[in-house]
Amino acid sequence: MILSALIFILVAGGMLAWMANRWYPGSAKWVALATVGIELVLTIWLWLQFASAMALPAHGGWFAETRAEWIPRFGVSFHLAMDETSLILVMLTAFLGMVSVACSWTEIQERAGFFYFNLLWTLAGAIGVFLALDLFLFFFFWELMLVPMYFLIAIWGHENRRYASIKFFIFAEGSGLFMLVAILALVFVHYRSTGVLTFDYFELLNTAMSPSTGLWIMLGFFIAFAVKTPIVPLHVWLPDAHTEAPTAGSVILAGVLLKTGAYGLLRFVVPLFPDAALQFAPVAIALGATGVLYGAFLAFAQTDLKRLVAYTSVSHLGFVVLGIFAWNPWSLGGAVMQMIAHGISTGALFVIAGILQDRTHTRDMRRFEGLWSVMPRLAAMGLFFAIATLGLPGMGNFVGEFLILMGLYRVNSVLASVAAVAFVASVVYALALVQKTFHGENKHDWQLPDLSGREMATLYSMAAITLWLGLYPQPVLDAAPDIASRPPAIAVADREGNAE
């Protein structure tokens, strides 16, 4: 019940925001804020609730479940369930929802009602993705969240928004269809072997299939998630979409939507196809490592601030892919950690980029320079999050990256070492960002107001969370899938055997 509420509050809030703005212009943001506020409070309440429930043994990992018949013809049910991984991602979504409402507060003046409608619906879709345990329902939400996101980019985006939004939509939807095909194939394979037509995650978990079938079906899933995550050859939509989206859009894209891809890998690809995933893991790991380095490298090359941050996402999510396909407790803990930490730190960088764009009307770093003396608070926050991005210990990203690579080292020490080169590459781009934007002489004579109270509250809270994640990451690490309790885990022992 509570799970459906999580989704429907946002859906209803979105509609209400739209309506309200027609009657009382300017009220949409308050409605939106209230909605995400309720959402956040609810998730925190859930978390506290479950944190105490965790103390009790034998929970099977699932906290809450909602199940209702939907399309009995196909064995499709409205099946939501929440375990720690979903919970933590839902919390992230709610928090970033709050952030994105806050950062749109003054940025969005035109058509605010429709804007918040889209924003909240995107969040609703994302939460649906994190909670759905019916493959049909999952796909439903998966596709659903793209539409409002498309509108966010296409209507409130920057100069090149049409190109970016269409590219985003075609990549995401097109790959989604491959996943649909794969879902159906899996369902029918299951049907053939058991005679039960169902889309239920648990039922499909132990589907027997031939190795080649498994590989093909898994690839269908993988493509969809690889586009969203993104994994390197399929990342090209991301820089455009992130760059052109309005601030809130960028925050949600980077913080939440990319996570849905990683979540998909974590929840579906590996558990549903353990053998195929094992077979495919070297390729995925190689792709992930490529992504880590390539993203870091390209981030350095950018002159557009938002584009730089966008490429850092490619790099960071590459780590997540590594963590997932290494599939051992350390790397998985790291992957979940990295997802959360990346959501916060990159989100914050986008907020900063948005503030800069709002005040200077440019994102070109060659035109900034020397902003430290103009807006020291903003610059300090920029420095802070740049450092978080480069993975300094004490911040969340470090915990994630370190654990991922440590886990990966067990599986593939060479690629782990190669990926570790990103530690250096990330310093290069993060410091380039700081140097080009904040340091140096204020040659362009910027006269800009520093952070307002609202912006400070947003950024400070994000900074506090980043530090908290870095120094006391345990709650998030506990949220990683407990591979011992999940049936089709890739045996770590096997891998160890291979590694040596």
Binding site: I71, F74, F140, E173, L180, V181, V187, F188
Partner: protein, 507 residues
């Protein structure tokens, strides 16, 4: 001797929808002759349609019923007849103000509309070459006149002529094909032809095969499958928007329903050449339709190409054969009806006031969302449905088709379908992006004629369509069980298993 109504001949009961519709056509004709005012005529038309639609539910208890050799009225046929009548109802509502409302004299239009619907109904129910021919021609000839109804304007006229020639040509092909098949097999009943073709020892001679091929060509023309698709954009663009909706839905849907029934019956999937030809056609149709729409600037033409592609998707579901295919096609067709009616409905509502040409160009839609949000919202929903985005019937339809195709392991068409859908996103998004673009200064200069508000009837109709689109998109279970029984019934004639999805056992 006045037999009480209950003692009416059951055939008569079963035929009541068609009879009522013919009756109302005559009544409308008489009314139009005496009362030269469109409003009552339209009312009568709508009443007739409602009555006929209501009578659909009468013979339900009787079940499958063969009425002479010519017609079969089972749930399958009734479902599609109902669909056709409903679509005609919507078209009639859209026509009224489109053609000038009470000021203009367009009463005759409704006669033609009713006749065309009747033709469609007969087509769906036909089980014999003769009824097939009659239904088809009733539909086609009414359409010639309907398309060219604004007869003093250029484009409708051109479209009418083109359709006339090409439809005549394809009728010729169809009829000649029928004659050849008849010459080979000695029967004109579909059911018998089907069983004869399905019989393993039956080998057709050359002219029999040629006959079948010609029939397929004739049907493919109506369905606008590649390479018989070329008329579609021109006719869609030229015809008045509501009539375009009618062509896109009724004329295609009726033919497809018929085709599906007899393909199932003939067990055509066992024939390698037919499956091969169909897959080829489906694949090319999807690709060609989507590619043609890519950079098109005329919304009606985009929708035309899109409808070509949609038929390609349908054909993929079709290829799966069996009950699942019937179900998938039926659902997809219903979704397609709703969507196309909605989309062309929006075009029709926007078009009034522009006499020569419907508001087709993409520029007419720029910023639509900001001055007519509801209309643009409906259009967006329709386009998203065509693109197969969740929350809409189009999504469930595509899901259904994919499910059917995958359950039959039709990998190539499935992949093409996916690729085609990805391509199609581009042009749907172009329209949507245009509607949401905020070039407010651009359309200030354009507002020569203030937009005509949609009439109440139109608004209700569009709202109802949207409601249906989303309602059945979210909760398809409302429709699915009836489709399921229907499909099992029609497919059960060929294969006597209740769960005859596919022939995977053979794999």
């Amino acid at each position: 001797m006045n037999p009480p109504p209950s003692a009416l001949h059951p055939d008569f009961m079963a035929l009541s929808p068609l009879i009522l519709l013919s009756g109302s056509a005559i009544v409308v004709m008489l009314a139009a002759a005496f009362c030269r005012h469109p409003r009552p005529v339209m009312m009568l038309t709508l009443a007739g349609l409602v009555l006929s639609f209501a009578s659909l539910f009468l013979p339900q208890g009787i079940g499958s019923r063969q009425i002479t050799a010519l017609l079969i009225l089972d749930t399958y046929a009734l479902f599609f007849i109902g669909l056709i009548f409903a679509a005609t109802f919507v078209v009639a509502v859209l026509c009224y103000r489109y053609f000038g409302g009470s000021e203009s004299r367009h009463e005759a239009l409704y006669i033609l509309l009713l006749l065309a619907a009747l033709g469609g109904g007969i087509l769906v129910a036909s089980s014999h070459f003769a009824s097939f021919l009659l239904g088809l021609e009733l539909l086609s000839i009414s359409l010639f006149a309907l398309i060219a109804y604004p007869r003093f304007t250029e484009r409708p006229l051109e479209a009418g002529i083109k359709y006339l020639i090409l439809a005549g040509f394809s009728s010729g092909l169809l009829l000649f094909g029928m004659a050849l098949v008849y010459a080979q097999l000695g029967t004109m009943q579909f059911a018998k032809i089907g069983t004869m073709l399905a019989a393993p020892h039956q080998a057709l001679e050359l002219y029999g095969l040629a006959g079948l091929a010609l029939i397929v060509s004739g049907v493919a023309f109506k369905l606008a499958l590649v390479p018989f698709h070329m008329w579609t954009p021109d006719i869609y663009e030229g015809a008045p928007a509501p009539i375009t909706a009618f062509i896109a839905t009724v004329s295609k849907g009726a033919m497809l329903a018929l085709l599906l029934r007899y393909f199932l019956m003939a067990g055509a999937h066992q024939s390698q050449p037919i499956t091969f030809a169909l897959s080829l056609v489906a694949v090319t149709t999807i690709l060609v339709g989507n590619l043609l729409a890519l950079l098109q600037d005329n919304v009606k033409r985009i929708l035309a190409y899109s409808s070509i592609a949609q038929l390609g998707y349908l054909l993929v579901g079709f290829l799966a054969f069996g009950a699942m295919a019937a179900e998938a096609v039926a659902y997809y067709l219903a979704a397609y009806f709703v969507t196309m009616l909605g989309a062309f409905g929006v075009v029709a509502v926007l078009s009034r006031g522009v006499p020569e040409q419907d508001s087709g160009s993409l520029a007419d839609y720029a910023g639509l969302f900001w001055h007519r949000p509801w209309l643009a919202g409906v259009f967006t929903a329709m386009l998203l449905s065509l693109a197969g985005i969740p929350l809409t019937m189009g999504f469930i339809g595509k899901f259904y088709v994919l499910a059917a195709a995958i359950s039959a392991s039709l990998w190539l068409p499935v992949i093409v379908l996916v690729v085609g859908s990805a391509i199609s996103l581009y042009y749907y998004l172009r329209i949507i992006a245009a509607m949401f673009s905020s070039d407010s200064n651009a359309d200030h200069g354009k507002e020569i004629s203030p937009p005509v508000p949609a009439s109440l009837a139109e608004s209700i109709t569009l709202a109802a369509l949207t409601g249906l689109l989303i309602g059945l998109g979210i909760y398809p279970a409302l429709l699915v069980p009836s489709l399921e029984t229907m499909a099992v019934q029609v497919a059960g004639l060929a294969e006597h298993s209740t769960l005859a999805y596919v022939s995977w056992n053979g794999k």
